[in-house]
């Protein structure tokens, strides 16, 4: 049984590498993520219990459950290929970095790949505990006092994982652990570009921590660029 599984895995790796070697050029999917309606008003965070963090923010930080840009742009949306692209046989060698600064997670949403090194740093003058809450991956919880070097972790299954710090209850973040390298996290203008897609039929998905996920089917032929836009319905609460 194990041998058979090994054989299938080997075959899958071969097929995957064959597809990968189709070349770096290919089609591109680009587009914009927006919202319609009225998003929830973000509340200012009271950091008075942690003076070393409070003084880093001239104006109080607000919650980040919905972050918007100009022209209804929606930030912090993970756009990724959920089906059609082969799983990456090996994760990228450079680590995905997650920082704690001013009692805030930077970035708020960190996209990384399965088995990619996740490097977590504490730039604050206070202790944090990093407590991701996965459902299918392993759950761990580590203390990181000020001045300790960054530590590394990995996730071996794809999952969207909320992250919190129990000591500072306002700190919330997310890890998006994805199966392949075709992903983007939207910023200010809400735009995204997924380049180097070999011809084929893809399911492209967009995930937002408050508004859930949605998917569209896209077929890429040659080196064309297709436009795909996502519109999330904003909830006022």
């Amino acid at each position: 049984m194990a041998m058979k599984q090994g054989f299938i895995a080997g075959l899958a790796a071969l097929v995957a590498s064959a597809v990968m070697y189709a070349g770096p050029s290919g089609g591109t999917i680009s587009g914009k993520v927006t919202y319609e309606g009225t998003p929830a008003k973000q509340k200012p965070i009271d950091m008075s219990k942690e003076a070393s963090c409070a003084k880093q923010h001239a104006t109080p930080l607000t919650t980040e459950t919905v972050v918007t840009g100009p022209n209804n742009a929606l930030e912090n949306v993970v756009v990724y290929i959920s089906a059609g692209a082969p799983d990456d046989p090996a994760p990228p060698s450079q680590p995905a970095k997650f920082d704690q600064k001013g009692c805030q997670y930077i970035p708020h949403v960190l996209a990384l790949q399965v088995n990619q090194t996740l490097e977590i740093a504490n730039d604050d003058q206070t202790s944090h505990n990093i407590h991701p809450l996965p459902k299918t991956n392993r759950e761990w919880n580590k203390s990181q006092p000020p001045g300790t070097p960054p530590f590394s972790e990995k996730y071996d299954k794809p999952e969207f994982i909320p992250v919190k710090c129990n000591i500072h209850p306002w700190m919330h973040g997310n890890f998006a652990v994805l199966k392949n390298s075709h992903y983007a996290v939207t910023q200010g203008e809400g735009g995204f570009t997924l380049p180097n897609l070999p011809p084929g039929k893809y399911t492209i998905s967009a995930w937002h921590e408050s508004y859930g996920d949605q998917s569209q089917e896209v077929t890429i032929s040659g080196s064309e660029t297709k436009t795909v836009n996502f519109v999330f319905k904003a909830k006022p609460y």
Binding site: K135, E139, N141, K142, S143, Q144, N166, I167
Partner: protein
């Protein structure tokens, strides 16, 4: 002709009968010292003693679950508080066995000391059938607990500094009463409110009563709760100093650490301020 048909029919019947039997035969063993537990035997015990809380599927969704303050463990997720392994790893068979012997203080999990040791070993084996993690993950190394350093006033004082520096007080409170600034906001991984341990109240620790157990609690962290692991940030000697200081917070327990601490002027004042006089009903208050 008829015989081949009959043979085919028999074969198909055999196939139907064997397939479910095969897929159900998830066998597990446990090894605790000389004890070897078997999941088949544990299954009978589980469906007599455990499933009322831990559920038919082992997911902690038993009939009694909703009435319990700390929800029953979900064996499918296999996140366990009391371990000797680093955070994020499965416990050892012995860890699970010890939890059965001890019960979990401040929760509804009783001690199963009334069962035989063989029965407890069998239960440990059966609990491991609920999550594929027991098959798929390699057993991790346990956290080494080096020989305890001598209990001295310097050690206790250094432990007190660490309690400040590592910000244990953010949850456990400056006096160890479990009333630190973050205490009120804490939730466990089931989104249920959870209280940090109150050292002064007199209850035992959740994961064992010895100094070695206490050492392990903050080194491994209690997975599924806000209590993180400090394994990467505390050196062994410092960890023992912290253990010695934490003992002095337990003013209701007569430990060697507390006796020594009370013999110093500073310690005596601290302990006196923490000792509870009288009872909640008011009797015995001077």
């Amino acid at each position: 002709m008829l015989t081949t048909k009959l043979a085919k029919f028999c074969l198909s019947i055999a196939a139907v009968l064997t397939i479910p039997a095969f897929s159900n035969a998830q066998q597990m063993e446990s090894h605790i010292g000389n004890l070897n537990g078997h999941s088949d035997a544990g299954k009978q015990l589980y469906f007599r003693y455990c499933w009322g809380c831990h559920g038919f599927r082992g997911d902690g969704d038993g009939e009694n679950g909703p009435y319990l303050n700390i929800l029953p463990r979900n064996f499918v997720a296999a996140t366990f508080k009391c371990r000797s392994t680093p955070t994020g790893n499965l416990p050892t068979d012995e860890d699970l066995y010890n939890s059965l012997v001890r019960g979990l203080n401040n929760s509804n999990m009783p001690s199963w000391i009334a069962l035989s040791s063989q029965q407890r070993a069998d239960l440990v084996a059966f609990i491991k059938t609920f999550s594929p993690r027991w098959k798929n993950e390699k057993a991790s190394d346990t956290i080494a607990v080096p020989a305890e350093t001598p209990v001295t006033v310097e050690s206790i004082k250094h432990g007190q500094e660490l309690f400040q520096k590592l910000e244990c007080w953010k949850c456990h409170g400056q006096e160890g009463r479990g009333d630190g600034p973050s205490a009120a906001t804490l939730t466990d991984s089931n989104d249920q409110p959870i209280r940090p341990y109150n050292f002064t109240a007199g209850s035992r620790f959740k994961c064992g009563a010895t100094n070695q157990d206490l050492y392990k609690i903050f080194m491994t962290g209690l997975d599924g709760t806000p209590m993180p692991s400090f394994a990467d940030v505390i050196k062994p000697n410092d960890a023992w100093d912290l253990v010695h200081f934490l003992r002095t917070l337990q003013v209701a327990h007569n430990s060697p650490e507390l006796t020594l601490w009370k013999s110093t002027k500073e310690g005596a004042e601290q302990v006196a301020s923490k000792t509870v006089h009288g009872t909640p009903t008011g009797s015995g208050i001077k």
